[in-house]
Symmetry: C2
Subunit: 406 residues, 2 copies
C-alpha cells in the first residue's frame, strides 16, 4: 500500500508559494502508483502538531485546486515555529506520531531558511529513528537569499512588482517641475536582491531610480545627501530605492536611528521605517519636497504582477520534488541551476539542506557600483529573465477570483 504525502508552508508568503504547493499537490495526485493520499498541514508544522490536516482531494474540487496557483498568501496557512536543536526533545516524538497516524511517507515543506532548518532536523531525526519517510524542502522567498540555487521562487514576481511599481511611481513623481525626492523602501533585511531589482525600472539615460542602496554596502548619511544633490543635476525629481535593511556596516540599521524596533520570535529584528527616516533627513538637510513609500506586503502578495517564468518554475519545482521523493531522495532542497549560454534555461538539482539552512546569499559587492549607489549590468542580465511573461488571473465582478480555505 502506497504511503501518503503531506505538504506544508512556512514563513512569509510569496506570490508563488501557492504555485509550489500546486506543483506538489498535482504531482502527488497524479502519482497514484507511488503515493496514496495527499494531505495539507494547515499552518505548517505547528498546525500539524495540533492535528490541523486537510485531505486535499476530499475537500477541494479540481477547479479550486487550479485556482490555488494564482491565489496570493499561503493557501494552507503558515507558521513561524522553530524546532529545538536537541533532537531528543519530545516535540519530535509528537511529530513522528502524527506522521505515523497519517501513514506519511513523503513530507514537503515550502519555505525559506527557517523552513529548510525544519527539513534538516526532521530528516536527521527520521534517520535516527530509522523511520521510512522522505523529507524535502521546496524553496520560496522573495529575498532570494538561499545559497546553492541560482535564485528562489517568489523573487521573480516580487522583482517584477518592484520594477513595475518604481517605473509607475517615477512617472507619478515626474509630473511637477520643482525639485523632489521620492524614497521607495523595499523588503530585504540582509540581502538587497529585491531593492536591486528596482534598476530594471529605468527606461532611458538618467531615468529613475537614480540612486539605489543595498544592505551589502555600508550606508553613510553624508555621502547619501551628496549623492542626492548630484542626482538633481540629472533630474529634478529624484527617486531613491533602498532596502529596508540598509545599515552602517557594523550591523546598526539606519531605521534604528529613528524608532523603536521589536524582535520576532526567531530573534530577528522587526524593521520598519528606514524610508521614513531618510525622508525626514532629506527634508531637514536639503529642504526639498520629499516623500517616502513603503512597498510593504504588496510586493509579496500582488497577483497582478505575477511573473509567468517564476510561476512556472515554482510549479515545476513542486513536481520535481515529488518525483525526487518517489526516487528515494531525502534531506534535500530542490534548487535551480542556470545553464551556460545566451538563452536562459534552468535545470533542477538536489542540494543538501544541512548546508543551506542558516546561510544567506547576498548580492555580490562587484554588482554594486558608483560608490554604493548603483547596480551593475551583470545584475540586470541575471534578473531580467526571471520577470518575463504574464499570468492571466481569473476575474469575477471586476476583481481577481481567489480560492479560500474557509
Amino acid at each position: 500500500m502506497a504511503k501518503n504525502l503531506v505538504v506544508g508552508q512556512s514563513g512569509g508568503p510569496t506570490a508563488v508559494i501557492n504555485g509550489s504547493l500546486y506543483g506538489v499537490i498535482s504531482e502527488g495526485i497524479k502519482s497514484k502508483d507511488a503515493i496514496g493520499k495527499v494531505y495539507g498541514m494547515v499552518n505548517g508544522i505547528q498546525g500539524f502538531l495540533e492535528d490541523h490536516v486537510m485531505d486535499i482531494e476530499a475537500e477541494l474540487s479540481p477547479e479550486k485546486i487550479e485556482l490555488i496557483k494564482t491565489t496570493p498568501g499561503a493557501y494552507l496557512g503558515s507558521c513561524r515555529f522553530k524546532l529545538p536543536e536537541d533532537l531528543s526533545d519530545p516535540v519530535y516524538d509528537k511529530i513522528f506520531e502524527q506522521f505515523k497516524k497519517y501513514d506519511i511517507g513523503y513530507f514537503f515543506y515550502i519555505g525559506g531558511n527557517d523552513s529548510m532548518d525544519t527539513v534538516s532536523k526532521l530528516s536527521r531525526k527520521a534517520e535516527e529513528l530509522n523511520y521510512d519517510i522522505r523529507v524535502l524542502g521546496e524553496p520560496k522567498t522573495i529575498d532570494n537569499d538561499l545559497i546553492k540555487t541560482d535564485h528562489t521562487p517568489g523573487f521573480g514576481s516580487a522583482a517584477k512588482y518592484v520594477a513595475t511599481t518604481v517605473r509607475e511611481v517615477t512617472l507619478d513623481a515626474n509630473v511637477y517641475e520643482s525639485k523632489s525626492v521620492t524614497i521607495v523602501e523595499i523588503m530585504g533585511r540582509h540581502a538587497g536582491w529585491l531593492a536591486a531589482a528596482s534598476v530594471l525600472a529605468r527606461k532611458y539615460e538618467n531615468d529613475n531610480p537614480l540612486l539605489i542602496y543595498l544592505p551589502e554596502v555600508a550606508f553613510d548619511e553624508e555621502k547619501f545627501l551628496k549623492q542626492v544633490e548630484a542626482a538633481f543635476e540629472k533630474n529634478p525629481n529624484v527617486v531613491v530605492c533602498i532596502s529596508e535593511g540598509i545599515n552602517d556596516g557594523n550591523g546598526k540599521f539606519v531605521c534604528e536611528n529613528a524608532s523603536d524596533v521589536g524582535v520576532d520570535n526567531f530573534g530577528h529584528k522587526m524593521l520598519t521605517g528606514s524610508g521614513k527616516y531618510l525622508e525626514n533627513l532629506v527634508k531637514a538637510k536639503l529642504g526639498v519636497k520629499v516623500r517616502s513609500i513603503e512597498l510593504n506586503v504588496c510586493q509579496r502578495c500582488s497577483s497582478a504582477m505575477l511573473s509567468k517564468t517564476d510561476q512556472e518554475e515554482a510549479i515545476a519545482a513542486g513536481r520535481f520534488g515529488v518525483q525526487a521523493g518517489i526516487k528515494g531522495e531525502t534531506g534535500k532542497m530542490i534548487a535551480f541551476q542556470r545553464k551556460a549560454g545566451d538563452t536562459y534555461e534552468i535545470e533542477h538539482s538536489l542540494e543538501d539542506v544541512n548546508e543551506i539552512c542558516n546561510e544567506e546569499k547576498t548580492v555580490p559587492v562587484e554588482w554594486i557600483t558608483d560608490d554604493g549607489s548603483n547596480i551593475a549590468q551583470a545584475f540586470i542580465d541575471y534578473a531580467l529573465p526571471l520577470i518575463q511573461g504574464d499570468v492571466e488571473i481569473p476575474m469575477e465582478n471586476g476583481l481577481p477570483k481567489f480560492v479560500y480555505r474557509k
Copy 2:
C-alpha cells in the same frame, strides 16, 4: 481658418488622467473642419505661461499617442497654480497673450476642484475681454469628490486598486493563526469614497476588511479599540481600512495626535500618518501583532489595475468635451449622469463650472453603517459598475511599456 486647441493637466495624477488627454487629443486631431492644431501645455497653466507648449502631431507618432492612454502619471506634466481671484491681475493678460500667440480657440483643462476654478476664472475673463475661446473642464480625481457628476474619471481605477489590494493583503494577513491587526491607510482627506471601496474586497461573511472608517464620521479611539476587540470574535486576523483624513469631527486629524510617535536623532519629530498612529495605538492598548500599510501613490498610478469602464469613460469624456467646444459651449465641466434602471449606463452632461469649483461631495452618511465602522450595500451597488473590465497593458521585456515626454 480653424482655431487651434490646447489641453493641459493639473493637480495630482490618476490612472486615467491620460485617458482623458487621449480623448481630447484624438478627437481634436479628427475634427479637422473645426480645429486646426492640437497643442499640449507642458506643466499646466504654469508651463503655458513659460511657453512650454508641445505641438502634439508634430512631436508624437500615432503609436506614441496610442500609448498615452495606458501610461500612468500626467503625460503633459502638471502644476499646482491657483489663479488670483482678481480678474484684473496682470497674469490674465499674459495667459491671453499666449492664447493669441498660438491662436487658441479651445482650451481644455483636465483636473479636480482647483482646475475647475481655473476653468471658471479663464472663461469669465474671456467673456470680460470678449475673447472668442471655449474653456472647458475635464474632470479627474481619485477622490471622487466633485459635485454635479455621478462620479469622476480616476475613481473607478483607484477603487479597483484598493479593493484588489485589500483582498490580497487580507490573504497575506490570514496566513498566521495568532491574532493580528492590519491597518490599511487609503487616500482621501475629506471624502471617504476611496476607503469605502475597500468593502468590495469582501468575499464571504465575516471576511475582511472587518472595519472601515471614513472622514465623514467622527473617529473615536475608545470606540475603535472596542470595535477591533469585537472583530476578533469573527476572525483572528482583522484588517481595518481607513481614510487618511479620519478626524475627531471637529477638524482635527487623527494623525495630529501622534505627538509621541518618535523623534529622529536630530531631534526632528517624525511625521506620521493616521495608519501608523493607529498601529502604535493598537499595539499599546491591545498588545496584539499589528502592522500598517499606506497604499500611497500606487493607488493613483498603478496601470495593472486600470478599470476598463473608467478608462473608456475618461476617453469618451475627452471626446465629448471637444464636440461640446465645437458646438460653442464654454465655462462648463463634462459630467456623468447615471441613467435610471437596473443596467449601468451613463450619459454626459455639461455643468456650470462656477458651481462646481470649491465644492466637495462627500459619502452620504446613510451609506456609513454599524456605528461608523462599515459601508452599506447602497455604496456597493454604486461602486461595483465603476471597476468592471480590465485593460491590456502593452508589455516589453517583462515590464509595462509606457510613453515618455523626454
